[in-house]
């Protein structure tokens, strides 16, 4: 176990008026439970506004949760439990252990820093090397590790294409030998022909460096490809979670089913989008519906769905869904 979250909530206040009074909250995460185990990839999938990025940022402590509890198991078998902020004592180590790759490779690299500076910074902050020559060797190694040439270290980000920049982000993320990398849609800004290169590189690093990923994406097929376990989110809540094969072969939640049907099939002979009968749009996270978050669009909606939030119900081993359809006696 690396990290575990219990009933994580994240509300962003909406400020209004000249005195900036709080006029409401964007409820980005609503009582989310999750855990990430060593050497696995947890895929988190959902549409925009479902809270997947917020959750990734809570894990990296870019955001502090509004309530709930995080539990971090350090490699030295220490356990840190904290509700909002990581205690200062462990924070620096925590930052070193948990790294992040961002979605947009054009805004996540400082345009005024050379690639060498970008890779040097984390090493200096954490005082890894006393000897500058060793440090430079390591930077060369990092660049070759992600498939770039060593002399790129003196160049600036604007000289690189999107795919190459994403490789640089990855080199920066692995520089401190982290235990967990939060990947926030690392391929979605890239061209189709370049996406597979990055996916392959991520898989290679995982196998060779025993990496663990918290892999965020809107692309179900990609998440399936990458992950041992999958979490499907909608409007700040977990709808379904489990082994990725179980979730795909034995899909339980009506929302996951719709999501699967909505992926265009690459076969002009069987156009399958015709079968998608989903009406309406996701409700606003400022004013989410009472009960199940999906009840406004669900075709199986029952009375209880409109009043009570369904808990995660076990469907089979390592496979749960938050839907009243699976509760016996309802």
């Amino acid at each position: 176990m690396i990290i575990k979250g219990k009933k994580i909530r994240k509300y962003f206040p909406i400020k209004k008026g000249i005195f900036l009074q709080t006029a409401g909250h964007v409820k980005a995460l609503e009582e989310v439970d999750f855990f990430v185990q060593e050497h696995e990839t947890l895929g988190v999938v959902g549409e925009s506004g479902c809270g997947k990025t917020t959750l990734g940022r809570v894990i990296t402590q870019l955001y502090n949760p509004t309530s709930g509890e995080l539990e971090y198991h350090s490699p030295e078998k220490q356990t840190f439990t904290f509700s909002k902020k990581m205690p200062k004592k462990g924070l620096k180590k925590y930052r070193r252990d948990i790294q992040m790759i961002f979605q947009d490779p054009f805004s996540s690299l400082d345009p005024r820093m050379t690639i060498g500076d970008i890779l040097r910074e984390p090493l200096d902050v954490h005082e890894i090397y006393d000897n500058p020559a060793e440090r430079e060797d390591y930077i060369e190694y990092l660049l070759s590790r992600v498939g770039l040439y060593a002399d790129y270290a003196s160049r600036y980000p604007h000289e690189f294409s999107g795919g190459q920049r994403q490789r640089i982000s990855l080199a920066r993320a692995i520089a401190l030998k982290p235990r967990l990398i939060v990947c926030d849609e690392p391929t979605s800004a890239l061209d189709v022909s370049v996406q597979s290169q990055i996916v392959n590189l991520l898989q290679e690093l995982k196998a060779e460096e025993q990496m663990t990923y918290f892999f965020i994406s809107h692309d179900l097929d990609l998440v399936h490809h990458m992950s041992e376990r999958i979490m499907v989110m909608y409007l700040g809540s977990v709808m379904e979670e489990g082994d990725s094969t179980s979730v795909f072969e034995n899909t339980a939640h009506p929302y996951t089913k719709v999501l699967m049907k909505s992926i265009p099939h690459w076969d002009p002979k069987q156009k399958k989008l015709k079968d998608v009968h989903l009406v309406g749009e996701p409700p606003s996270p400022i004013n989410p519906p009472k009960g199940c978050p999906f009840n406004t669009r669900c075709t199986h909606v029952m009375d209880i769905c409109k009043n009570e939030r369904p808990p995660l119900i076990e469907i089979e081993d390592n496979h749960k869904a938050a839907c009243w359809l699976f509760k016996e006696g309802v």
Binding site: D191, L222, H225, M226, S262, P264, P268
Partner: protein, 324 residues
Amino acid sequence: MSIIDVKHLKTHFKTEEGIVKAVDDVSFELRDQEILAIVGESGCGKSVTVQSIMGLLKTPPAIIRGSIKYRNEELVGMPLKKYYRIRGREIGMIFQEPMSAFDPLYTVGDQAAEAVSQHFTESKTTIRKKIIEMFDKVGIPEAEKRYDEYPHQMSGGMLQRMMIALTLSCDPNVLIADEPTTALDVTIQAQVLNVMRDLQRETGTAIIFITHDLGVVAELADRVHVMYAGKVVEKADSIELFDNPKHPYTKGLLASRLKRELKGQELPYIKGTVPRAFEFPAGCRFHPRCPNKMAICESKMPQPILLQNGHEVSCWLYNGADES
């Protein structure tokens, strides 16, 4: 019957870094009542091609050569006044970003009415009725109420459907859609694509659909043109293209699809990256990335070759030989 006929279109831009040959000798036709998909990655010239058709490029810096015929009328060099009559009325266009395609200061209804009143001399109330009817058709709930609301009150999917309604209320013969669903979530994309297909069936409007997503192509298109680095490299019927791709680039794109059976395994990929527009390589522009590269590919540009089933490909592999 072709409704738009593009012949040897070259759209170049003069920039400080040199001449950018965004579209370089592209020929194709759009037939009556069909959905033609133009697919390619960023920088392949697909958007510039349709912007040239719509006359949306400022000349200079753009230099447009060749011919674009809409029903025997030449669009290249057409005076602006005449263009106004065709743009919107005969050829409509939908853009990628619904949020920035609408003016935030006017209600969506007013903006739709303005577009319609450019081309029709009907009374305000008739136009209003017509637009509300169209909103209804594309699945906008409470269309009457929505007519008087502002763009920020809508979601992206709803605005994109309104954009489709707005464009189709002028009853154009051709609809150009430039990545209309790229900014939308998959479930919303499914809704928008379904609306587009149903309306196309009903009205018979011919559509040029631009996308980078081969899944969307498979769902919607009758015929497909694949573009790479300013050139059309392959043309075929949709089913033929997916069953029997010819160009190494198309093959690479199709192979990079994620297959459930191959979970976790190494994905096939196209090496290298898309070249930048002012440094296209000599010869075949795909040759630095091509797994089947031959000596001739480095020096001479391949010309389109017609194979069986109306399949056309620009690749030296097929020169002279019919089948591979």
